[in-house]
Symmetry: C2
Subunit: 469 residues, 2 copies
């Protein structure tokens, strides 16, 4: 939902996230604590909903619901409720009785109503749903039937459509008469059965001759999505074509909804969060506000890859126990040998995954990028390998040992860089999410191969029977 | 820059990133290889610029510049050039001679021209700048004087302002007469000296009485940013207030520019990329297309934290050499002990940093979140500690050893979870970027404390003189 700046004339906008907002927060909190309800109501009326949302996010949690409840109009309360952050929203939902919540729900735009209902426990959602007006109820049930990750799941059903034989002048009058309808920048042109025929922006409407038919001035080559288009694709299209909104049609081209650019910003944020969580080796759905057991349950299987990899490394070291026993210093260098390769791996994987996601890198680059990472890995490996080699030599007085750790670092850092660029690109190639490659696979592979390489080099380079510590 | 859908009537929009786009790509490539210039020009005319940009991203690199050069009009070429990805843009810039580039530069909107000039080597930028018309040249120099991370650095100077004594009717006529000016949704109202007085949306203009003065219908409480506001704050404001554009003013409130929501989407993407790179422990400026030495140079210092941490761990192990010599199996479990804690740390740190960035988590939550992570860490630690303890017992036949690795995993996973939530929140509290906390600090601290804890527990729990492998 977009907010039309001009609607806000009577309210005061902070437009600042610093000092002014802190002052407003203090004032509101003071009035609340003093129980000065009238002055509080007065100030709440003068404050812009998004600012009130910021205030609620920065006061002690016990005050959130009581202050929210002093908002006298359901419409303003609805505006605030959709703009507070998730944490504050949960508090408000939990502490607002159904009877008070229903009128607020009625005032919400359909897409926001769906988001809110989805946050609730099924029983409460059911109960509130039955309290709504018949029409809203039916519409809501329809919207809830779409998967939340699809266009149907994020669209609003409030849009503006007119038939093609409307004149520009009539259309302008229609816009004037529907001043209360959600901000329209695009007018959709449909036939008698609401099949989408074209689009015209309000600005184009102004440019058209008053008697021109919409059919003749509209743009008939229009970008649409269907209700089951993934929200990721919706965001990509709005971003690519720089649209302010995109229409949603059903399988017979009937206009059923619209998605605005501000919702697309939210989708992009969510998708990025999911990418980051996957890279970190946890599920895309994890948030810190889940219950303890749910978080643990989400993370547990993702850690399995690291666990199996760790056991494999253990098994490898065990097989080289003879070497380790003779040169106990090898154990001392194990943490730094593993750590350096792991770090280069995370650096490289992150750059690769993010590059693929933003399009600054594509699969055609694979050989060039591999070659470049090979060289970067070699440079970093030579620098840190040489430095660590010196440390090994001086700390343990063995040039051979220095050579082993030095060459291991060189090999492992180079290998890690290569693996961390190759795996995500391979995942992308086979149609899997490259972000998933990073967490469990890249990290674990680097650990296992790294340890193997270390002990193989040690066996090769150290003149074992005589090289004991 | 926004594209007005209605402007595109004669062109064909793919609106799809799949099959249709591949077909178009094949057609264009075939025509180019055959040297069929005329049909190629014809098809290029019919294709939407954003789609042509996608085509250029998926053809072999040698064909990119030649196909781009077949675009006959500078205006269309300009539209395509700002919509291709970074890689394609670099190819085109490198392979297009100055004489051909100048007319394209002239057609670019000011903000896009700045972005492009900033990508070039200084000498070429200087040369091209001197080729531009005097007016564009002066404007460009002014824009280039702003820091790229500020509102001044990303704003466009193409906006629409009228004085407050203009009537709604006159304003509508003015919009009609300036059909060529970049898409306007907001009209800015200024005084005779271009000081910003208010804003009105085109839709509000339609709703106003024809004779009403803009001064009387405009919204005077307007959110503005100054030229030196950080682009991050600009994005936060546009996102918070759900604006389509935000005006930029100088220190005396003169309107000097405007930033549109599509540019804000780009800013949000860039900021997220920087966050991810910082979390991975590399500089925010790294991209894989930098030169090899530059990438190595960027990563080298970030790896220093891991290196020093690694050396510290080495030093710790060395101090426990006696224990390791007696129970060589401790070395075998070192990789898995380090790996598990590191993984939990990355999971937790990512959830925390992202939560703070998106506002789903704020500093007020710190004790609740710490307590929750403590419990999550304990659950995961008990599960994997018990499992690994069993492995230790069976693999090496020592219940004591199993106990050591089990309790170490329990302690280290719990500690890692706590550290990974506490450090980013502490960084946020003291005004530093919480993303920076993750890469070098959290990871290194987990490694060092983890190793220390492991060997201390081993010393405590193993009855050393008799517990040799």
């Amino acid at each position: 939902m977009f907010i039309d700046v001009s609607k806000t004339s009577p309210t005061q906008i902070i437009g600042d996230t610093g000092a002014k907002l802190r002052k407003l927060t203090e004032t509101i909190e003071r009035l609340h604590v003093r129980g000065a309800t009238r002055p509080l109501e007065k100030i709440i009326h003068k404050v812009y909903p998004a600012d009130l949302a910021s205030v609620l996010a920065s006061i002690p949690e016990v005050h959130v619901a009581p202050i929210f409840h002093t908002i006298p109009e359901a419409e303003l309360a609805a505006d605030v409720l959709i703009q507070v952050n998730d944490r504050v929203q949960r508090i408000i939902l939990a502490e607002t009785p159904d009877a008070q919540l229903t009128p607020i729900l009625e005032k919400l735009p359909p897409d926001e109503r769906v988001l809110l209902i989805r946050e609730m426990e099924p029983e409460r959602a059911e109960r509130l749903l039955s309290e709504l007006e018949k029409a809203s109820q039916k519409e809501l049930e329809k919207l809830l039937s779409y998967h939340p990750d699809t266009a149907g799941g994020i669209m609003t059903t409030e849009f503006f459509d007119l038939t093609g034989d409307t004149t520009a002048d009539q259309a302008i009058r229609a816009v004037r008469e529907h001043a209360e309808v959600e901000m329209v920048y695009y007018l959709y042109v449909t036939d008698a059965e609401h099949k989408l025929e074209g689009v015209i922006s309000i600005r184009q409407l102004l440019l058209a001759k008053p008697q021109a038919l919409l059919r003749d001035v509209m743009n008939a080559r229009i970008i649409t999505v269907s209700t089951d288009t993934s929200r990721e694709s919706v965001a990509a299209l709005v971003d690519k074509y720089r649209l302010l909104a995109i229409p949603v049609v059903d399988e017979s081209q009937h206009l059923v909804g619209m998605i605005t650019v501000d919702d697309v910003i939210d989708v992009l944020e969510t998708e990025t969060t999911q990418d980051m969580l996957r890279m970190a080796g946890t599920d895309k759905a994890e948030i810190l506000t889940h219950s303890t057991f749910r978080i643990a349950w989400i993370r547990l299987p993702w850690l399995l890859a690291a666990f199996i990899g760790g056991l494999a490394a253990t098994w490898i070291v065990r097989n080289f126990e003879g070497v380790l026993t003779q040169v106990i210093a090898l154990g001392a260098f194990l943490p730094v040998v593993m750590g350096m390769a792991g770090n280069v791996g995370v650096q490289t994987a992150t750059v690769t995954v993010r590059g693929l996601a933003t399009g600054s890198l594509d699969l055609r680059d694979v050989w060039g990028v591999l070659y470049k990472e090979l060289r970067v890995g070699l440079i970093l490996g030579v620098f840190y390998g040489f430095t660590l080699g010196l440390f090994g030599w001086f700390m343990f007085g063995s040039l051979d040992l220095g050579g082993v750790v030095g060459f291991t670092i060189l090999g492992n850092m180079t290998g890690a860089a290569l693996l961390a660029v190759a795996l995500p690109m391979l995942f992308q190639r086979i149609g899997a999410d490259p972000a998933i490659a990073t967490g469990p696979f890249v990290t674990t592979a680097i650990d296992v191969f790294g340890v193997l390489n270390y002990f193989m080099l040690a066996t090769l380079l150290l003149d074992l029977p005589g090289a004991g510590s």
